[in-house]
């Protein structure tokens, strides 16, 4: 599973951080950081994060 975030779209609404805290986080400057290759066990949480993103900046591939 490969996660991509278009950081030019990201407005740090933090909805992904709430949906999948093991994958997405905000750094000390409130910029988004994320694990681009999380384990498959995290897929449901990442899928929820994809749906939750208000600017739809997150995509998921590598099924």
């Amino acid at each position: 599973m490969r996660v991509r975030v278009d950081l030019t779209l990201c407005e740090t609404h933090a909805q992904c951080v709430f949906a999948a805290p093991a994958v997405f986080a905000l750094d000390d400057d409130d910029e988004l950081v994320y694990d681009a290759t999380p384990g498959d066990a995290l897929r449901p949480a990442v899928e929820q994060a994809v749906l939750s993103c208000p600017v739809r900046a997150i995509s998921l591939d590598g099924d």
Binding site: F18, P44, E47, Q48, L51, P54
Partner: protein, 426 residues
Amino acid sequence: MRHIATAGAHLAMRRIDTAGAGLAMRRVATTTAGLAMRRIAIAGAGLAGLTAAQELRRLGYDGEISLVGAERHRPYRRPPLSKEFLLDPEADVALPGTGELGATWLLGQPATGLDLAGRRLLRGALEPVAFDGLIIATGARARTLPGTGARARTLPGTAGLPGVVTLRGLDDARALRAALGARPRVVIAGAGFLGSELAATLRSLDLPVTLVEPGRVPLRRPLGERLGAVIADLHRAHGVDLRLGRRVAAAAGTGRVEHVRLDDGTVLPADLLVVALGAEPELGWLHGSGLRLDGGVVTDRHGLAAPGVAAAGDVARRPSVLLGGELVRVEHYSAAVEQGAHAARSLLGAAAPPGAVPSFWCDLYGHRLRSVGVTGTGYRPRLVHLEPDGRFLVEYQRDGRVVGAVTAGFVRHLSAYRHLLAEAYA
């Protein structure tokens, strides 16, 4: 996944009635008996409806999906309408993925009734939509009345008066954006999230803004008294003429609005009156349908309002895990996403995802307020941080237990609250 799609309506019903949902859900998911779910109608083509449709496909449902929408637009993002959309004619609010759903889009004409026994969604004089399963996601409409109930009246002088507007849909936002070019003097009735965000956006254009709020402070109900006072200061610091404890009593003008009168007799010159007094669930079309309507379409904890009928988003009133099952209607973006997906799963008899902690955000003058859980005047606030630069963190408790938090600037703390609150769903 195919077996999930064939779980029938009466089986879904049995699940509601059965204690020990885990076991019952397994039974639904593994049976192929019962009515085949081949036609799913979604009333409401907004974020919740779209998310529901996407989830149906993700679960492997390959039957018909019909989305019935009052607006002529495909689903779009509503949050920017009070913010960047008003500033940027190029702003794109379309939600992606609508073309890949294989859905039938019936737009520009709302559902006008529900024939529950006949499994038909009515659309005025147009052909009804027959369904095996229904997801109700008709959202909410902007409140235009000073009060609710049988005695409510429109504000004197405002009915049909040009320049008196609400901001709810894409067409509203386009009209408002067009009107801003004439640099109007704007009065906003209501300093809730919408009114406050709109005031901030209009001040960034340096337009004169009077913000009229009936409460003692802006955002008192969702944030509480103390934080509301912080927001009031923020508005004033950015040049908003803030009138607290006042209501708009009337609007008048020749041909279009020219002035607005407050309940203390004050007359304000105005070229535009934006009524931002909240929204009410779009329920009118469901009266007499047999569904339980009580400040929203009432559902069980699976989001089901009746066998084979789910409700999601602004229109739904669902039991809150954080509040011990108390029925709540939540207008957050995150709730539309979560409930839309949940409704789709419940309709097909698929296991529910672990519930998501509610969250929302609001942009004011370069500050982003974020919340998790439930917040506001119903709960005991505890100020954790308040910095001179305007950053703050407030938590809310009920019966000694934390149920929510709001922050500007302490986002990582909010993540910790989210973790804490998520335990309620475990």
